[in-house]
């Protein structure tokens, strides 16, 4: 069984309290307005929705009220209370907001209050027709013997748990909303992260497959070494072949090849043609970034440095 807080009956004439512990409070009708209605609703949340309209004519419109409702036999018991009024009253009596655990309503004590209990010098609390009511002591008569009520032995079932909303900067509803939102966001981020992580496995499989077929290339040093050996050969040989092709495109019936030399430094061709064709050759060669040099009236040298 969980440890329950000490219960304190809260009324206007109560003594100040000195406690550092959490307490549950039972508020008297001085702090709430009570209505008992027979309604055709099934659930408490439905009843709570219509609660403000039920209290329309009974409440001070300048105050902000909270509503609480529970089923009491065939009726619904409605309570309207001002949490600020209660909390500021308790502050005056030495109870901090965050010390308040649950708020109960003295209406729940109706079965125990067939005989009145004293609430200080002037008032008493008594159940009349099953409704807990504040009565002035002068109505009870001088001889009336007030009952002692031991709250420890009384079990209360319908409390409002609002302690978390008292001292908090963030109200409970917003807390729930923000927590749900942030949790969903977090879950989405984690799911997205895992999805991204999984996407790499395809590439890893490709690499593994490639290396399993060429296990000698599994070392990056070996790969770099082979690349360093063959890349220059590949690029130089491609340039040589491309240049031969470019030069061959400069040749025609009017332009003949006199010589062609390829060594490790350059590619050079000597082409013979008439003056008009030579100019055309130079123009075309320059377009292909070949170096041209006229050698006499009918000769032109075309070169590319490697």
């Amino acid at each position: 069984m969980g440890k329950s807080n000490k219960k304190i009956l809260v009324h206007k004439d109560m003594q100040s309290l000195t406690t550092n512990e959490n307490i549950d409070i039972i508020i008297t009708p001085q702090f709430y307005t009570f209505l008992k209605e027979e309604l055709g609703v099934k659930f408490a949340y439905q009843a709570k929705q219509i609660a403000p309209s039920l209290f329309d004519d009974y409440l001070d419109s300048s105050k902000e009220y909270q509503f609480f409702v529970y089923k009491c036999k065939e009726y619904w018991c409605f309570f309207a209370y001002d949490i600020d009024e209660i909390s500021s009253f308790l502050e005056e009596k030495g109870v901090k907001k965050y010390q308040i655990g649950k708020i109960f309503f003295s209406q729940e004590l109706s079965n125990s209050l067939d005989e009145a209990i004293s609430l200080g010098d002037d008032t008493s609390l008594k159940s009349i027709d099953n409704i807990v009511t504040i009565l002035p002591k002068r109505l009870m008569g001088v001889e009336y013997i007030y009952k002692d009520l031991d709250l420890k032995n009384i079990s209360l079932n319908h409390g409002v748990s609002i302690s978390s909303s008292f001292g908090s900067l963030i109200p409970l509803k917003q807390t729930i909303g923000m927590t749900i939102l942030l949790t969903i966001l977090g879950i989405i981020y984690i799911a997205e992260g895992n999805r991204i992580k999984g996407s790499i496995s395809d590439d890893e499989q490709k690499e593994e497959l490639l290396l399993s077929k060429n296990h000698k290339l599994s070392s990056s040093r070996i790969r770099e070494s082979i690349l360093a050996q063959y890349e220059p050969i590949d690029s130089v040989e491609r340039v040589k072949r491309d240049t031969i092709e470019d030069i061959s495109k400069l040749l025609s019936i009017k332009a003949h090849l006199k010589e062609l030399n390829i060594d490790d430094k350059k590619i050079s061709a000597l082409i013979e043609a008439d003056t008009a064709t030579i100019n055309q050759i130079i123009k075309n060669a320059n377009k292909k970034n070949l170096i041209t040099k006229k050698e006499g009236g009918k000769l032109v040298r075309v070169e590319r440095v490697l």
């Binding site: 302690s163 978390s164 908090s168 690499e207 063959y230 590949d234 062609l260």
Partner: protein
């Protein structure tokens, strides 16, 4: 008292924990994203290098290249083949009196096969006749 403080600021604590969780998840997602991008780049680079190495080896270290060298012996008539000397992975070939068609065939053969051209020298020896000296290796 500490327990009371916790109770008092329970809502803030819950929101704080949810925020920490969302932030952790956000950083987890971002760091995973960065890690995967960098890893993917590494893998792609590695795959492209492996493919490049395979391609280069296939082209420049082909085992069938020796057979292709022998084509130079038969591509023109024997009388025009002045010399054909093979030393290890290197060949020196000399042609004489090649006509344009024959010259084109030989050049085409050089162009289409992965020989490393060490030296190629073509000279017009007479009208539409050419001498050629080719040194290539593989």
């Amino acid at each position: 008292m500490n327990l009371m403080l916790l109770k008092r600021f329970r809502n803030e604590l819950i929101v704080l924990l949810a925020t920490i969780f969302a932030l952790y998840a956000f950083f987890y997602k971002n760091s995973t994203d960065d890690f995967v991008k960098s890893k993917e780049a590494d893998i792609q680079s590695s795959i492209s290098k492996i493919n490049r190495v395979i391609e280069l080896k296939k082209v420049w270290k082909s085992k069938t290249i020796v057979k292709k060298i022998n084509v130079f012996k038969t591509i023109v008539s024997k009388s025009k083949l002045e010399s054909f000397k093979r030393r290890g992975q290197k060949v020196i070939i000399k042609y004489k009196g090649l006509n344009i068609k024959e010259l084109n065939s030989v050049v085409k053969q050089i162009m289409n096969n992965p020989f490393q051209i060490v030296k190629l020298k073509i000279n017009q020896s007479a009208k539409e006749r050419y001498r050629m000296e080719l040194i290539c290796k593989w």
